[in-house]
């Protein structure tokens, strides 16, 4: 590990100024990925900018319209320990509770998980399915981008030099909407997704699916938004048969590789299994909420 400076700006203004200094920067939102990468020599920097001292990035709450607004450096444990977050956004907690262990979750963040841009990250498919938006800031102002447009490749986000991911905005679920995220791992803990699926569906009064979003993890170069799976669902009754068609569409969209975590054939197969199971559990959540 080479020497680098550690900076802990107290405001966004200070953080933007540090980013504009011309030195190579990395940002630390939780550090559970970036510190390991620095130690192993997989990343280098002149300065490491700790975002955990910037108040806007360390707070979260529900807006008037029900949108959950989460600062990029809020620890995952803080989110899933909040009963209101668990009640109103259970699919977010599906992901937040399985990213690392308890100790990791007290440091790790949505901002860090997203910016690390792993194709296998657990938060990404969940947030894509939930239709979340990301607020990106720089000294020139702020803008919004859907999560599915945030990734450029393995380990690469669309963040430009000088930009910081500030906030994750998750729209409220309607009364007849449900969401679910899960992954497949060979063990029961301490593992990275071999494949994963996040879904959100909305039903009309006759249990016909009127809205749907499906996203996958670990089966492409980036987390994958799958509109074709949603198309297979919308307008159809919420049945196993419908779900299996969505599963098949999801599998068809996946472009996995074979590596030490699993084979391409296994992952395609799992995508279909996981999508169907996620849809069934999202449906259960809608029914339980009634």
């Amino acid at each position: 590990m080479e020497n680098f400076d550690y900076l802990a700006p107290r405001s966004l203004t200070e953080a933007y100024a540090a980013l504009g200094s011309g030195r190579t920067s990395l940002m630390l939102a939780g550090g559970t990925d970036v510190i390991v990468q620095l130690r192993e020599g997989r990343k280098q920097c002149d300065q490491l900018i700790d975002l955990k001292h910037i108040p806007e990035l360390m707070s979260y709450g529900f807006a008037a319209d029900g949108t959950l607004e989460i600062g990029a450096a809020v620890p995952l444990a803080q989110l899933y320990e909040d009963p209101e977050v668990r009640r109103r956004q259970p699919a977010l907690c599906d992901a937040a509770t399985i990213i690392g262990g308890t100790a990791i979750q007290s440091r790790a963040t949505l901002g860090g998980n997203l910016c690390n841009a792993s194709p296998a990250a657990d938060s990404s498919p969940a947030l894509i399915a939930l239709g979340a938006l990301l607020v990106i800031g720089s000294d020139r102002g702020t803008g919004e981008v859907p999560v599915e447009a945030f990734f450029a490749g393995p380990g690469r986000s669309s963040l430009q030099p000088g930009e910081i991911l500030l906030q994750v905005r998750i729209p409220a679920l309607g009364a007849r909407e449900g969401a679910y995220y899960h992954r497949f791992i060979p063990r029961n803990e301490m593992d990275i997704a071999v494949a994963s699926a996040g879904v959100r569906i909305g039903l009309d009064e006759s249990d016909r699916i009127v809205s749907a979003r499906v996203a996958l993890g670990a089966v492409a170069a980036t987390p994958l938004f799958v509109p074709s799976a949603a198309e297979a669902l919308i307008g159809q009754p919420a049945t196993r048969e419908t779900f299996e068609k969505a599963g098949a569409a999801a599998a068809a969209a996946a472009t996995p590789i074979t590596d030490m975590r699993g084979s391409a054939a296994q992952r395609k197969h799992l995508v279909s299994v996981l999508t169907v199971r996620a849809l069934e559990r999202a449906l259960e959540r809608i029914r339980e909420a009634r």
Binding site: P186, E189, V194
Partner: protein, 753 residues
């Protein structure tokens, strides 16, 4: 659960707290990474980026000029090593190859092979200096799989290696097959011709690592008088001393090895990797040097156990196994020395089989040199045997345990080497398994299955020395030289307390360094509680004799009229009695300190058997196998400390479950180990292993005064086959390749491969 009566003991069979327990749970115990010395500097190792290459040149000049660097080392700094075999207890090593494995000389033979080393003021400077070492390689094609390496046109790891056989050289051309060994008995052809049923299968397994928590480490301090002190994590300080002496051509008397506490070994901490490097860096730098591997280095460059390929044919007639033909090839890694021989010698040991031919191939590949791993060689050969036996039992229409019982080996049955077994306990294990609540209960529900398997391990004797000093307060210090991995301070102290008739808490055991106790071979081969235990009992008898002599003075009675009994010396008519503590208190005025010794080459080893039962459930959609219930039955001889015996059994089972279901060295085509971390090398976590029930069958070993058999290794032998047999029941598919990972299961069940 104890199933066979044995004598009643006062301390043997109880469960006292281990002497090293408090220090370990309070974090005070000193491990190798805790070593701090004045002027200590840090070493780092440069490793090969290629799986197979010739080293053309190494330029260390820029690294040497780096500020803060004290020393740079390459193989040129090592003495030229001889082609000589050194016995290490559970394994043997060729010194030239050991030396080349520690720092490569002409070739690198696996990715991660050590090439050069730097010692610097801190680790960061050392890492910077490593980047400045220029190594010119001629990259060669690697060969990674055992069957590929056996092909005539395979890339050769060494142009001067010819196949050896028991009758001498067996190849006229250089080969990656380092050795072929045949074990043969009876007439296989006739038996196959007359068989009712024949099973023929091919099995493969991948390299797997022991997965000890503590990485290898070594701190060396070279002194200006030519003496050397090494602090290290090892299964045997004397074996470190012997290897360092041979590799560096130093007299053993110049080397003092101080064994630190050990964070797991399982056989992997018998060979040396860092000690000679730390030593020569220290000699060059004039300061003590510390080396600690990171996890990736441990996976890439220490010894896992062999991947294997086994072709097995087995015949049955009238419920009797009549013939076995096996061709087994084990990966030795970069240098010869796989445990294929032990695999061959153990695979039929639970049974009485008249006709057999086993051909065992030791094969080098471009992967790290294997080292011992808990019953080395036996788990994968048992995987093959016990799978085939399961199928034959079915074909014969018999319960798999009844079939094993009918074919069981017993006292007098000959091993494949021709040696007859002494008193052994396989039949008792199978009977206990049949009667166990687990086997008596039905297994119900879809996608569930039950499997059983047996296993054998020889266990080792080897050399042990202990000393016992009697303190004036009536307590004793037990000075031993066996690394305490699984609770042997306790199991030895208990045997001493039992033999002396004193309280367990009055024995204070210490694991001494190589200058402070007689020679001890490694803690390996499940030998310590047995062999060092024998030495402890002998030393206690030495103390007893001295106590009688002292009591004779104190009681004014002739020695011949006195005997040692229940922690006291008593006269034969029972009229006079003087307790241990009183004799101890008087030692200064009855002839000086009372000090007992024993050194021995342990004879009378008792082999160990185990029979396991496992229930699994398979998710047919994801291929994930969940272990629902596990019962391990084992003949433990006599359980000195039943909790630690159970712990050994449960640990072996957990490792076996990992091996069966998920663990594997996963190589990319270029020879890169792609999963060199605990994240991707999937050992089971606590959430992946159920509570493991143990049944301790006690068939005392007649070769030990308390009947001790080694217990540590055999529990890893049956699980691979037991799990595979259970998965076969659950799915109707017979998996003959390990691991039975979700990938493999889902590809098989859904025809995806």
């Amino acid at each position: 659960m104890t199933t066979i009566d044995r004598p009643t003991y006062r301390i043997v069979g109880t469960r006292p707290i281990r002497p090293d327990g408090v220090e370990k749970v309070t974090g005070k115990a000193q491990y190798g990474a805790d070593v701090r010395l004045p002027n200590l500097i840090q070493g780092r190792i440069l490793r090969s980026p290629h799986a197979h290459a010739r080293i053309l040149s190494i330029d260390t000049s820029e690294a040497e000029k780096t500020p803060g660097v004290f020393a740079v080392l390459t193989h040129k700094d090592f003495p030229v090593a001889e082609d000589k075999i050194e016995e290490l207890g559970e394994s043997a090593v060729n010194l030239k190859e050991l030396s080349d494995n520690i720092l490569a000389s002409d070739k690198v033979l696996y990715k991660g092979h050590a090439v050069a080393a730097v010692a610097a003021i801190n680790g960061h400077v050392a890492e910077e200096a490593l980047k400045k070492i220029r190594v010119e390689y001629e990259v060669l094609p690697p060969v990674l799989d055992v069957r590929d390496a056996m092909r005539e046109d395979a890339p050769l790891l060494s142009e001067t290696r010819f196949t050896k056989s028991m009758s001498g050289q067996a190849s006229d051309k250089p080969s990656n097959i380092a050795a072929i060994t045949r074990f043969q008995g009876g007439n296989v052809e006739e038996a196959f011709a007359a068989a009712d049923h024949i099973v023929e299968r091919e099995f493969t397994t991948k390299m797997v690592h022991q997965g000890y928590i503590e990485p290898q480490n070594s701190t060396a301090s070279w002194n200006s008088d030519g003496t050397l002190t090494i602090w290290t994590s090892t299964q045997g300080a004397f074996v470190v001393r012997a290897q360092v002496a041979e590799v560096l051509r130093l007299p053993v008397s110049k080397i003092r090895v101080i064994p630190m506490e050990i964070g797991g070994g399982f056989g992997g901490k018998i060979p040396i990797y860092l000690d000679p490097v730390a030593t020569l860096l220290s000699k060059k730098a004039g300061r003590p040097v510390k080396l600690v591997m990171n996890r990736t280095e441990v996976f890439m460059a220490t010894g896992p156990t062999s991947g294997s390929s086994i072709k097995l044919k087995m015949a049955e007639k009238d419920g009797i196994i009549t013939a076995v033909q096996a061709e087994m090839a084990y990966e030795a890694g970069a240098y010869p020395g796989s445990p294929v021989g032990a695999g061959a010698m153990t695979m039929l040991s639970p049974y009485n089989i008249e006709n057999f031919v086993i051909d065992a191939y030791d094969v080098v590949v471009n992967k790290p040199k294997v080292s011992a791993y808990r019953a080395p060689g036996a788990p994968v050969s048992a995987f093959a045997t016990e799978t085939a036996i399961d199928e034959l039992a079915k074909a014969a229409g018999m319960d798999p345990l009844e079939f094993r019982l009918k074919n069981s080996a017993h006292e007098g049955t000959r091993m494949v080497t021709g040696v007859p077994f002494p008193r052994i306990g396989h039949e008792e294990c199978v009977r206990a398994a049949l009667e166990s609540p687990h086997y008596q209960s039905p297994i119900e529900g879809p996608n569930r299955g039950r499997g059983v398997a047996s296993g054998f391990w020889f266990n080792a004797g080897l050399q042990s020395s202990v000393s016992v000093a009697v303190n004036v307060d009536g307590t004793v210090n037990l000075i031993e030289g066996s690394t305490d991995i699984g609770g042997t301070r306790a199991s030895l102290a208990m045997q001493l307390a039992e033999t002396l008739g004193i309280p367990y808490d009055d024995v204070k055991p210490i694991v001494a360094d190589t200058d402070s106790v007689g020679h001890n071979d490694v803690t390996g081969g499940s030998r310590t509680t047995f062999a060092s235990g024998l030495a402890v009992v002998e030393a206690a008898k030495d103390i007893q004799a001295q106590m009688i002599s002292r009591a004779s003075k104190l009681l004014n009675a002739p020695e011949g009229e006195l005997r040692y009994e229940d922690g006291a010396v008593v006269s034969s008519d029972g009229s006079k009695r003087i307790p241990f503590a009183e004799i101890a208190a008087a030692q200064g005025r009855t002839g000086g300190p009372i000090y007992g010794n024993a050194s021995l080459m342990a004879r009378g080893v008792g082999g160990a058997y185990a029979t396991h039962i496992v229930d699994v459930e398979v998710d047919p959609d994801t291929g994930k196998v969940t272990v629902l219930r596990y019962t391990a039955v084992q003949d433990v001889g006599t359980a000195i400390h039943p909790s630690y015996v159970e712990g050994q059994i449960q640990g072996g089972v957990a490792q076996g479950i990992g091996w069966a279901l998920n663990e594997e060295y996963y190589y990319n085509e270029d020879g890169t180990l792609a999963n060199a971390s605990f994240l991707d090398y999937r050992m089971p976590t606590t959430l992946d292993v159920p509570a493991i029930d143990t049944v301790l069958v006690e068939v005392p070993n007649p070769g030990h005064p308390y009947g001790v058999r080694g217990v540590g290794e055999v529990p890893i032998v049956p699980p691979l086959a037991a799990v595979a047999n259970a998965v076969a029941e659950a799915t109707g598919h017979r998996f003959t390749d390990l691991p039975i990972s979700p990938r493999r299961v889902v590809e098989e069940l859904h025809g995806l491969a």
